[in-house]
Amino acid sequence: MLEVGGLRSGYGGLDVLRGIDMQVGDKEIVAVLGANGAGKSTLNNTICGIVAPYEGKVRFAGSDITGKAAHDIVAAGLIQVPEGRRIFPNMTVRENLELGSYRRAKPRRVANMERVVAIFPRLKERFAQKAGTLSGGEQQMLAIGRGLMAEPRLLILDEPSLGLSPLLVEGMFALIARINAEGLAIVLVEQNVMQSLSIAHRAYVIENGRVTLSGAAAELMQNAELKRSYLGM
């Protein structure tokens, strides 16, 4: 579904990603783990056409999308729910969801909206409310809902658990597993290592713009090095 090879990018000539290789298969959840500043969000944004790559290749669903414009990548079905949600605060929940299908799946907007509010009944209650007035958890639901409106073929979630209470985090991971179980491939970018590994099939650990560890999630969970660096064990 997604193949990233030798990807290098950064800001203003400064390298952040120093050659990333990564694959995501159909129907997989792949976790991308790493500390703050490792380059996870830069990786997402380079894949999605928001940050320009210096070098390397990105292939999605069989075609080369390296350096393509963000809106073309959305049109191809690669959808990112970004860190910090990036919802439209001045617009209602409904309008936010409608814009989710601005580039893709517009003819099925109504049906998809029903599907999204079935997943997130809370959003239905807040339909006419300005998105900026929602709670953190609701904003995250809206961001994911907006992403689903585009009928993604691959969904990248950048730190969906950030800023949520432990109880909500629990629910968020259960939800991600459920969406994946319906057949959607997911890249889950997280700092929440153990919870991510518990729902992911495979994972990559990124440090300083490089993949330092990768493999099956079940195996990584037993990895001594990972435990030491992330759990202080």
Binding site: A69, A70, G100, Y102, R146
Partner: protein, 290 residues
């Protein structure tokens, strides 16, 4: 004591010119709403549009109202191309650069006009230029009545167009959250250029409605850009309805001011309002709080 019979025509006159101001200001406020910049080239685009209407009439005998089918689309193309080809490229995404680029464009356009068409003030003659309609309570010049009705219709049509398509939503989304907009697949450079193009088309329409009762000269844009800016500030930066109401208020203020203070001092009231708004309601009548 001034009589009602003098005040009423002045009021009507103010409303008619106000509708045209609103149209010009609508373009300015649309561009501001999306790009967060004041387009200093707005007046110069109006000047070019007025020359366009003038020459279409002088060379080909095309009536200014028929030019409504030609000049606004031409201005749309000009605005789109300017934003996509010049302003966007030259500013490298920095707002303060965009401001300077539009200012530079204004200076270039004004001086090119001066070079090619000289400083002469030009007007056109139309068969209906001096006709009036009797409204019962007052009479009003036909070109002004047409301008009023047409400007309002165009404002409504534009509003409908934006509300019925995703365009309005996309513009509002982009204004507040650029990365979010990119991630739902909004083509940012295209939408910027569309806003600029539509803003320019508003100016093109205003030119067609103005010329039968107005003039054109290379510096005519300066008059309007200042008034349009006042309208936008008064109505609330980026507010559609605000531009409409603001335009009417400024038009009436100018007209009534002219009645009391004389033609040359009529605009004084506009700037009194401008300063009062900045002092007491900086977000404008319908503006959102920052």
């Amino acid at each position: 004591m001034l009589e009602f019979s003098i005040l009423l025509p002045a009021l009507l006159n103010g409303l008619t010119i106000g509708a045209v101001y609103a149209l010009v200001a609508l373009g300015l406020t649309l561009i501001y709403g999306v790009l967060h910049i004041i387009n200093f080239a707005h007046g110069s685009m109006l000047m070019l549009a007025l020359y366009g209407v003038f020459f279409l009439h002088a060379l080909f005998g095309i009536d200014p109202y028929v030019s409504l089918l030609i000049v606004p689309p031409a201005l749309f193309v000009l605005g789109y191309a300017l934003q996509r080809g010049v302003i966007g490229r030259a500013s490298h995404g920095k707002d303060e650069n965009i401001l300077l680029v539009t200012l530079g464009l204004a200076i270039v356009m004004d001086n090119l006009a001066l070079y090619f068409w000289k400083a002469d003030t030009r007007t056109i003659d139309t068969p209906y230029g001096f006709d009036t309609v009797d409204l019962g309570i007052a009479t009003i010049a036909v070109p002004k009545a047409v301008a009023f009705v047409a400007a309002l219709l165009i404002c409504c049509a534009l509003w409908l167009l934006m509300a019925r398509t995703d365009l309005c939503k996309a513009i509002r989304a982009l204004a507040k959250e650029r990365q979010g907009a990119q991630l739902v697949g909004i083509n940012v450079p295209h939408l910027f250029a569309m806003s600029f193009g539509i803003g320019a088309a508003c100016v093109g329409a205003a030119a067609c409605l103005l010329l039968p009762s107005f003039y054109v000269a290379p510096d005519v844009g300066q008059v309007f850009v200042l008034i349009a800016f006042t309208v936008v500030v008064l109505g609330g930066m980026g507010s559609f309805a605000g531009a409409l109401i603001g335009g009417m208020i400024i038009g009436v203020t100018e007209s009534i001011g002219g009645l009391f203070l004389g033609e040359s001092l009529g605009q004084l009231g506009i700037f009194v309002i401008f300063i009062a708004v900045l002092l007491f309601r900086p977000t404008g009548l319908l503006g959102h709080r920052a």
